[in-house]
């Protein structure tokens, strides 16, 4: 009996040890590495907004993707990319040399950073020097910059390799950081406690990728929200559930199929804007039959785009005539190709297509209603005699194949425009790593859009779109889905297709 007692005590002691071990884990004050109390009451915020992915870093000099929405409220750029074009921000004005190669910005040195430190050209120089360092992902968009200089505290100059009228928009997308502070705390220190000159300042971050910002009292324009909690919630379903329960206040990219359900909830408001995403088909023109203009034209004519918008987007979108979307500066407003199955069949027959199956690759996310869209496309193509093999890929794998230009046959993609048409031009018409054709006429037309301005540039953009879409049929545009937002009713929130959407406009 005695030995059993000893075992019983040992077992009990072991159980208690396990409980204490777990309790010590549970009681850790480090709370997931939080700089705020992550284990106490939930942080109070005027609004909570979901992030589609956790932030790995809060540093606009090394990050080009994840932090876009957050950077839009924490930092300011040389210019502010408004919906009608760029307006002064950290730069008061800018001038372009006659050859379009030298851009001189006059800085507003009366402005300060959120820590009260002065702003001048040294901050701009430091920021762009970092972005232009080998291995920095910003180099992808800044490769046209030949050199930079800061001749005076209130002047900053870019020397470009080739002229580009959209450079002003590009400069508006690069957040400026305070040089002295950044260098004193280092990259890791800056990411943990970033300082900018934007309308909201950093309050706290939680390991796991969330961040809270509070309105900066010294910002010249009063902000609509006292604070914003950016919470990583990747799942769209969880985002909607969070909205319905009041955990979140704004959810973007609501599925069209959910609109009617959410509209019936009096606590919510649905807002819809023209989207900046376009769904399209691209051709690997290095392979037959996609190398045939007749084949590409036939495919372009094979779709009843209005019916696709009605069924696949529940009417929340428009048929696309090009890849540049409605809210983008330089939107050429091309008519969508008319559905003509007879003409499509004739063109495909003329191309000499032998009826063999062609790969049709698509990403299962990013593209709205990806599987249904792919099936609809396959069905329309089958109707005009084109056999396709659907190849769904996860977005990451698709992106890798896309960038490596190894996608065979055709692919469907949904692509976001930037605020200016040059984003789509750089990515899909000229030079970018996703362009699957080479065409001198297109190169010349692209150059014209970059060396002109005003109405002349608008005409050049329209001519480029007509050349790529209607003459050469390098892409078959399909649909432009609207962006649907659901938000807490009564929230002072005016959405648009571009960031920053939570800050008061400049």
């Amino acid at each position: 009996m005695r030995s059993y007692n000893r075992r019983w005590i040992a077992a009990a002691a072991a159980s208690i040890a396990v409980v204490m071990l777990a309790a010590s884990c549970g009681g850790s004050s480090s709370g997931g590495g939080s700089s705020s109390s992550s284990d106490g009451p939930a942080v109070a915020a005027d609004i909570s907004v979901p992030l589609p992915a956790p932030l790995a870093v809060i540093d606009p000099t090394v990050d080009t993707a994840a932090g876009g929405t957050v950077y839009g409220v924490l930092f300011r750029s040389l210019v502010f990319n408004g919906l009608d074009g760029p307006v002064p921000a950290l730069a008061k004005s800018w001038a372009i040399s006659p050859d379009g190669l030298t851009w001189t910005y006059t800085l507003d040195t009366s402005l300060k950073f959120q820590d009260g430190s002065a702003f001048d050209s040294a901050d701009v120089l430091f920021t762009f020097q970092k972005m232009l360092t080998a291995g920095n992902p910003h180099l992808g968009t800044l490769s046209i910059v030949a050199s930079i200089e800061a001749p005076t505290p209130d002047t900053f100059v870019f020397h470009l390799k080739t002229p580009n009228a959209a450079f002003i928009i590009l400069s508006g997308g690069k957040s400026i950081v305070p040089s002295d502070y950044y260098q004193s705390v280092g990259a890791d220190g800056f990411s943990k406690s970033p300082i900018g000159a934007g309308p909201y300042k950093f309050d706290s971050a939680v390991a796991g990728g969330g961040v809270k910002v509070t309105a900066w009292a010294d910002y010249p324009i009063k902000q609509p929200f006292k604070s914003i909690d950016f919470v990583p919630v990747p799942s769209p379903q969880a985002q909607i559930a969070g909205l319905q329960t009041g955990t979140l206040d704004v959810v973007a990219n609501v599925a069209a199929s959910q609109v009617e359900t959410l509209k019936s909830d009096s606590k919510l408001k649905i807002t819809e804007t023209e989207g900046n995403n376009v769904a399209f088909i691209a051709f690997n023109t290095g392979q037959a039959p996609m190398s045939s203009l007749d084949f590409r034209e036939g495919v372009d004519l094979a779709f009843d785009r209005d019916a696709m918008v009605k069924t696949l987007l529940s009417g929340h979108g428009v048929a696309a005539g090009g890849l540049i979307t409605q809210p983008t500066i330089g939107y050429p407003d091309l008519d969508a190709p008319k559905y003509d199955a007879t003409a499509a069949k004739a063109a495909i027959k003329k191309s000499g297509y032998d009826g063999s199956a062609i790969n049709l690759t698509y990403p299962t996310s990013v593209l709205l209603n990806a599987d249904l869209t792919a099936q609809a496309v396959a069905s329309y193509l089958n109707d005009v005699g084109v056999k396709v093999t659907l190849i769904p890929l996860d977005y990451t794998t698709f992106l890798q194949q896309w960038a490596a230009k190894t996608i065979q046959g055709m692919y469907i993609m949904g692509y976001n425009n930037g605020i200016d048409a040059d984003t789509i031009i750089s990515s899909l018409y000229a030079g970018g790593s996703r362009v699957l054709f080479t065409d001198d006429a297109v190169t010349t037309a692209v150059a014209l859009t970059r060396t002109t301005s005003g109405d002349v540039r608008v005409k050049a953009l329209k001519a480029l779109e007509e050349l790529v879409m209607e003459t050469k049929h390098y892409y078959a545009p399909l649909m432009m889905p609207n962006v649907i937002y659901a938000s807490t009713a009564g929230l002072p929130f005016t959405p648009n297709a571009f960031s920053p959407m939570y800050a008061a406009p400049k």
Binding site: A65, T141, G208
Partner: protein, 305 residues
């Protein structure tokens, strides 16, 4: 004991080396991460410069040697996405995972032992069937489906519990319920089988013959013996907690290691993937060694060899 621990540590080192190698190979097989890190406007020349700056242009064997050298010093490089040390990225998130896994482990043990004892003490076939059926039903539902059901009921419909992130005590309830209930049926079966074995042994008959009540004999005599195999099964199932936390952390946006790992895999962030896998593997190996030692201490019949 010292020799045993030394041998187990050597085995653990070999295991971790193999995991290091496997993680390196699998991560590289997942493809080039530069496409995910660079904007679409990037031309091929700039992409090549970027790849070189990250050291991805080096021969694979050279990358492997560099990786092993770094791993020896617990240096897994810097996150391709965030730029910070990859190991820091993981260790910052480790407390959140340990809290969730630790609490789930304790809850699952308490729940299983409590229900197991109730079934044994009441000796009610109906109660046994009811509890085991419920546990089996839960086991049959995949963890992410069960988590979503909880969210829909307690988060959305009743709005009793939060379901996004780690914010206070109430945010633990649903993730812990999901993780801790998943192994309940297994634990109850183990307890039932062990109690059944112990009941027929001579020491139990002796105890009852000496006038001890059935309840007293079960708790005082049989229960400590039932605990030994139970602890072994619990230790073997610690791996489930880690696998389960990947799903649970993702569904509940829990800021832990598993959630970070899923993001790192999606973004092909090699250093973070490697640091995370090694961290989890090391914890798992150490916990298993500790479980063996605890078992031998509890039961002198178990020899560590």
């Amino acid at each position: 004991m010292t020799r045993y621990v030394a041998i187990r540590l050597a085995q653990a080192a070999l295991t971790i080396y193999l995991i290091l190698t496997l993680t390196f190979v699998l991560a590289r097989m997942a493809g080039d991460p530069t496409a995910l890190l660079l904007p679409a406007e990037t031309n091929s020349e700039d992409a090549a410069i970027y790849r070189k700056a990250l050291g991805l242009d080096k021969p694979m064997f050279e990358q492997y040697i560099d990786y092993l050298k770094g791993a020896v010093h617990l240096d897994f490089g810097r996150s391709l996405r965030g730029g910070g040390p990859a190991l820091d990225f993981i260790t910052e998130r480790l407390p959140a995972t340990l809290k969730l896994a630790g609490i789930s482990l304790v809850v699952s043990i308490i729940l299983a032992l409590g229900l197991g004892l109730i079934i044994e003490l009441t000796n009610s076939e109906r109660l046994r069937t009811f509890i085991l059926s419920g546990a089996l039903l839960r086991e049959a539902i995949p963890a992410f489906v069960f988590a979503l059901m909880l969210i829909l009921l307690f988060g959305v419909k009743l709005q009793w519990l939060p379901f996004i992130g780690m914010n206070g005590f109430s945010s633990y309830v649903m993730p812990v319920a999901t993780l801790s209930s998943a192994t309940l049926a297994l634990y109850l079966r183990v307890l039932r089988s062990n109690f059944s074995d112990e009941r027929s042994k001579e020491y139990m008959r002796t105890a009852l013959a000496k006038g001890e009540s059935r309840s007293y004999a079960i708790i005082r005599e049989a229960f400590p013996n039932v605990l030994l195999p139970f602890i072994t099964v619990v230790a073997l199932n610690l791996g489930f907690l880690i696998v389960g936390s990947v799903l649970v952390e993702t569904v509940f946006s829990w800021p832990g290691v598993a959630y970070a790992m899923v993001q790192a895999v999606t973004q092909r962030d090699f250093p973070v993937i490697q640091a995370g896998v090694i961290m989890i593997a090391t914890v798992f190996v150490i916990v298993n060694i500790l479980a063996d030692i605890v078992s031998s201490k509890l039961d002198p019949r178990i020899e560590l060899s």
